[in-house]
Symmetry: C2
Subunit: 627 residues, 2 copies
């Protein structure tokens, strides 16, 4: 990757040739005015190339637009003084590359040994001397092969058994689920042991992510995702539970998710020349509500006190019974849930990280509409759900939006001029602000002293970007002339209030859960951030606003979609599949609101970063540094 050295700060970062110089500057913590989100239209982001090869559009007045400038070799870039702000204090090179770390862990803990086994058998073809039934012939060989006395047989395999056996003259492959007693799920003609596939799926409230996994090599053959089509019936789990109460509501939600899952399965199989009937396993993980919809289970009692799921551990389900593209042998498993709002996605994530097998006291955090927290190690696990609300996903934020094309994902503000530098997803004209942009904006406004600790704008700043709008004070991030919507994109005090309440719910959640098990936040030796949201989060900014605890940065890990990874590992390893059950059983669930100290913790957290600055020593130091 080319190295980009910025002058006059003399900071060097590496970026791929496909990334723009403005993104390199954001990575380096350097501000360049830019208000069109990198769409190349505002022309404010002028930089000068002082060395190396670049590709870009020269400006008539000299220099290049940083937002359309790409490095073709190591380059030296000078940022004009009107643009440059050194934010180095805010950034430390600690953000872990999550996937590499997790992949190493996965390789270490997952020896490939799927719970669903394929066993090749060369049976003796029947003769008048040995005309035992097809099934007995197969069973006899299998019992011997497995060294067991009993098998349970899936009656559906009988239908095709005589043809399958005769197709390759009684050379056959049996598909079994390893249990006591083992379950004979299906048979295939000939030796098919080299073709053994699973679909690992994270059933998210918003997105369904699927991977096609080769159970022989352990490789991921393909990956795809789609929005959960249930979104049309409600953005969040609560509104979907409400929808499920309508006539046929539950049926529709069930059918929609099955249809989407089926489509993803078809797509991945087709791309890899696999017949979906060959699939051995759908290994799924999802939150408790998604798991209920998937199995057509009544979600109503999840919502009504005392919040009881129909089931948290789910039996094996023949995938065909759910109407999925599958063979008679294909089984579906769902990661076990812990409680109504701590689901199988969390169990799968915890298992994937390996935290339940190790010593370090670990805090596992999944931030979303419903934030979930797990704390523990190999000796104990405690978990809780925080009703953080949808603010971090852009919900309840005036110009909040999902992380799609045109969403502002990173922001920096010139402390003198209060001019912003914004980057949008896809480098398109900005439409709104997504979660990571919101945190970035909030942290910047706070650290630059534009808002105070309670989230209120300083009234004495003389800038057209700070104004009192119809809904109170606000910061204008993008003027309507440069937005894709034709409207000013603003960030209001009400937005900030929502965000402070959301992050307060999370932080007081960590504190309450830790206190419930007799610990406190300083004892945490490792913080794992799961979920898509975590992947795009700027760690420093999240700490500055008090969303994450102020702990040594080297102890933070971003693991991305650990739910999907857990689902994949469960398909690849019967040990992991069993570990899921063990971990789900081991997790003690705490109802945070039932804890007597919760409200105090919550109220104290409604400050940036917190009422008690001693809980955030590095932020305290930074604030003092800045003055």
């Amino acid at each position: 990757m080319p190295k980009v050295t910025f002058l006059p700060a003399n900071i060097t970062v590496e970026i791929p040739e496909t990334e723009t110089i403005i993104r390199a500057a954001m990575k380096a913590g350097l501000h360049i005015n830019a208000s069109c989100g990198g769409a190349g239209v505002c022309g404010k982001c002028r930089v000068f190339v002082e060395g190396g090869e670049v590709e870009g559009e020269p400006l008539p007045e000299g220099g290049y637009k940083a937002c359309t400038l790409y490095p073709k070799s190591d380059v030296t870039i000078r940022i004009p003084v009107e643009s440059e702000v050194d934010r180095r204090a805010l950034l430390r090179p600690v953000k872990k590359v999550a996937s590499a770390w997790l992949e190493a862990r996965e390789a270490a803990q997952v020896s490939i040994d799927p719970a669903i086994k394929k066993i090749y058998l060369k049976l003796e073809p029947p003769s008048l001397e040995n005309n035992m039934p097809d099934l007995s012939r197969l069973e006899t060989a299998l019992l011997q092969n497995l060294g067991v006395e009993r098998l349970e047989v899936n009656w559906r395999l009988l239908r095709n058994l005589p043809y399958r056996l005769r197709e390759k003259n009684f050379e056959t492959t049996a598909i079994l689920f390893e249990e006591t007693p083992p379950k004979l799920l299906g048979v295939e003609a000939g030796n098919t042991t080299k073709r053994h596939f699973a679909l690992a799926v994270d059933i998210g409230t918003t997105t369904i992510c699927a991977q096609l996994v080769d159970l022989v090599s352990g490789k991921i053959l393909g990956e795809t995702s789609d929005y959960n089509p249930q979104i049309s019936y409600g953005e969040d789990v609560i509104s979907r539970i409400e929808f499920a109460r309508k006539k046929d509501g539950l049926k529709i939600l069930h059918e929609k998710v099955i249809e989407c899952l089926g489509k993803l399965a078809q797509e991945l199989c087709q791309q890899n020349n696999i017949n979906p009937e060959e699939l051995s396993h759908y290994s799924l993980a999802g939150n408790t509500v998604m798991s209920h919809f998937l199995l057509f289970l009544e979600p109503r009692f999840l919502r009504e006190s005392p919040y009881v799921p129909v089931a948290s551990r789910f039996p094996l389900v023949p995938a065909k019974d759910l109407g999925l593209p599958a063979g008679e042998q294909t089984i579906l498993t769902l990661a076990p849930c812990v409680a109504s709002y701590v689901g199988g996605d969390i169990t799968a994530g915890v298992v994937a990280t390996g935290m339940a097998k190790e010593d370090p006291l670990t805090l596992f955090i999944d931030i979303g509409t419903n934030g979930e927290i797990v704390v523990g190690n190999k000796d104990f696990l405690a978990c809780a759900a925080c009703s953080a609300g949808p603010a971090f996903e852009g919900g309840g934020i005036k110009h909040g939006m999902r992380a799609t094309i045109g969403a502002i994902e990173a922001v920096s503000i010139d402390p003198q001029t209060l001019e912003p530098m914004i980057l949008t997803i896809g480098n398109k004209k900005p439409k709104g602000i997504c979660g990571s942009g919101i945190i970035s904006l909030l942290a910047t406004l706070f650290i630059e002293g534009i808002i105070d600790q309670s989230g209120k704008f300083r009234r004495d700043l003389n800038s057209p970007r700070i104004r009192e709008g119809r809904e109170g004070w606000e910061y204008v991030l993008v003027w309507k002339e440069e937005s894709a919507t034709g409207e000013d994109i603003v960030f209001t005090e009400a937005d900030i209030d929502n965000l402070i309440r959301a992050k307060g719910a999370m932080f007081s959640g960590y504190q309450t859960l830790l206190e419930s098990v007799g610990l406190d936040i300083t004892m945490v030796e490792r913080v794992i951030l799961a979920g898509n949201f975590g992947s795009f989060l700027d760690l420093e900014q999240a700490i500055i606003i008090g969303l994450l605890p102020d702990l040594p940065r080297e102890n933070f890990y971003f693991v991305g979609n650990s739910s999907l990874m857990g689902a994949r590992m469960a398909a690849l390893s019967k040990e992991v599949l069993a570990e899921m059950e063990r971990v789900a059983q081991m997790m003690t669930h705490f109802e945070l609101s039932a804890h007597p100290g919760y409200m105090d913790y919550y109220v104290s957290a409604l400050f940036l970063p917190h009422t008690n600055l001693d809980l955030f020593p590095t932020v305290k130091e930074l604030l003092q540094q800045i003055g």
Copy 2:
């Protein structure tokens, strides 16, 4: 029951008030001329009442028609000399009442302990302190109740679980299949342990017989039967296997039997105010071909050498998956088969008789198109199928017919006049001759010397009833004036030849099978006759023609539909269900035609009763007596 004393023979028999005097005479072994089958039209069966009260139609010339005369008290009846023949020598009072014997056995060996259990649980309703999932709540209580560590859960029960539990405030009844691990099949609201039902069914090639069984009291709540609708696609198993090869043939046969079974289930449930969804168990027994059709299994390889069934032991099947009226918990079991032509009906029958648990060397015989034989005791069991052909069911017999209304079921012949006495089912004008009538006729013709040992008519008898017809020599049993068809009903030498071959196949079967295990027929201590055919068979006549071995009459037992009884016992007792598997495994199957001595045995048996008369000592004695 009234006693009927016949003069001049001075023989007394008991018959119900609803039976006719002519049937009493047949029972007493006394001949009364009667050629209309008891339809009251020929007027030949005149008798005189010498004492007691009767109900009947006096004849103008004095006396009554025996075929429409009923005893209302003990009566004395004189048979005029022109009618009366003493056949006492042929009859011994040895015919066992099968059902009483078997019922006593059943009571002795079946303690009511069904494999499908209902367990009533009063669960603690959920609260904020204890809000574990519905399924976990149920499982925890069950594991404790059963003293096991693991349960397997039928995922289908989850759908209704929350409603079922809440309907009676968490008082619930769990339905389990006892196995290792136990299977949780379903749940019901409240305490339903007193309502626990099974359907026991014998799936016969011709008839499907079902009983609704109360699994609490062990009582049979109702019984019904219907022709197997597959008959429209082939009378016997071979022609149905052929039909199954046509497009959709197997599907049609499968659907027809399921439809019929469902109808019988509905009917019995309705009569007893039971919702079919309450059924716990369909306990079925049928021959191997019927079992294949029922489960939609390819029957083709049963017919093609080396005659391999798809399966002989069948997995549990959710009854709903087959489209039967059932709840999600209802399971279906099929009695295990032994070979292509020794099926689950035989296994069930052998289990029902208890012969596999006792010392006496027992010969179990089921006569039908495919006769099945089992020999053995608690130490060993050997079995074989005999291709007897359909002669005993009226097939291949010129005027043969099924045992329905108008079928001649019993025959006697006056040795002087050669005039017959016939009885028909339903006392209607005769249409043809059914199995028991055919044996009765053959035995009578032989013992009265009208045919010889090779089954040929004596050519020197001067009677219009013996004649040479278009198809050879024949006996006219009913003149066309008295038949329901308007045609003479005759019994031909070709018919006799077919019958001799059929009985020869059976008898040589006994001999070959016994020899295969190093025994001979004289060592047999008990003969059990199973099946509908056995129930209507006259034991002496069957021995006279050599269909059954000439053993002491007190060692013969007629057990009727022992397949149905076995199916019922399997529903009532988990021990019996397990015993089915043990017995099926224990039965060594012999292919008779593969035995080197079989042909010799067969050829020797093509004589009445046998080439070697010493094998039939009482028949030999009888023949000598008669001269």
